[in-house]
Symmetry: C2
DNA sequence: GGGATTCCCATAGTCATTCGAGGGGAGGAC
DNA sequence: GTCCTCCCCTCGAATGACTATGGGAATCCC
């Protein structure tokens, strides 16, 4: 996952992609291509999801039992693999969100200090 | 860098340690041991900085010209390497902080959606 | 003095995640 | 039939974090 605008920003925050995928699937099942688009749009185009990150992530999440998949047909009449959140995935999303909030709060404590 | 409490939380947010070190050194030069303690304390003990992450990070930052180091003697009368921010390090801190804020804002946009 | 403890630096090996760069198949438009 | 878009996938390299381990030197306690 990269930060867009400026494009040279570089990669950041390894580990958050899984959480974003899980969060996206709360709205219902979707296939990879759509998931990436939803993340990009919901972030107001601040994020871009590379295919080389996306598909390994989906397979990883399925291996861990957090997603289940099923082949189907997309809105554009293409063969597509639809993923949905499992119960364990829902739990993991909640745990990951908690970790994220504690982590960002801690980091913001450090960034937020006045330079006195 | 790990999230403490719960201890099994695992590693998160690769890439932020450098920013935290740079931020800590805005207050003045410090050696590794102190830097780690300051990060832990300022984060209200939410973060713990492992030595195996800390020292490679310091070397990396110095290699990139963002820190400069000098051997000295610590408050406890121990030999210690003191690091200070360079001008380029100050610029990098500012850039990294901007990336961090844009990234967290983007992710919070996704997390923040209501489940309708 | 001598042993344990604290302070301080450092590296090797391993692991997970991401990225860029590829490859491929199949539908729809023309 | 050609091109474009959609959709899936994989490999190799890079990065940065962790665990484990090492060592040296000052201090504390008996």
């Amino acid at each position: 996952m990269v930060l867009k605008r400026p494009p040279e920003a570089g990669d950041v925050l390894q580990g958050t992609l899984d959480m974003l995928i899980l969060r996206t699937l709360i709205m219902g099942a979707a296939h990879g291509h759509t998931i990436a688009q939803m993340i990009e749009q919901t972030s107001e185009n601040a994020l871009e999801v590379e295919q080389g990150s996306l598909y390994p992530a989906l397979h990883r999440l399925e291996d861990r039992g957090w997603l289940a998949s099923e082949w189907g047909v997309s809105d554009n009449n293409r063969k597509a693999k639809f993923y949905r959140l499992t119960a364990r995935g829902r739990k993991e999303l909640s745990a990951a969100t908690g970790r994220w909030r504690r982590m960002t709060r801690a980091i913001d404590l450090i960034l937020g200090q006045e330079t006195e």
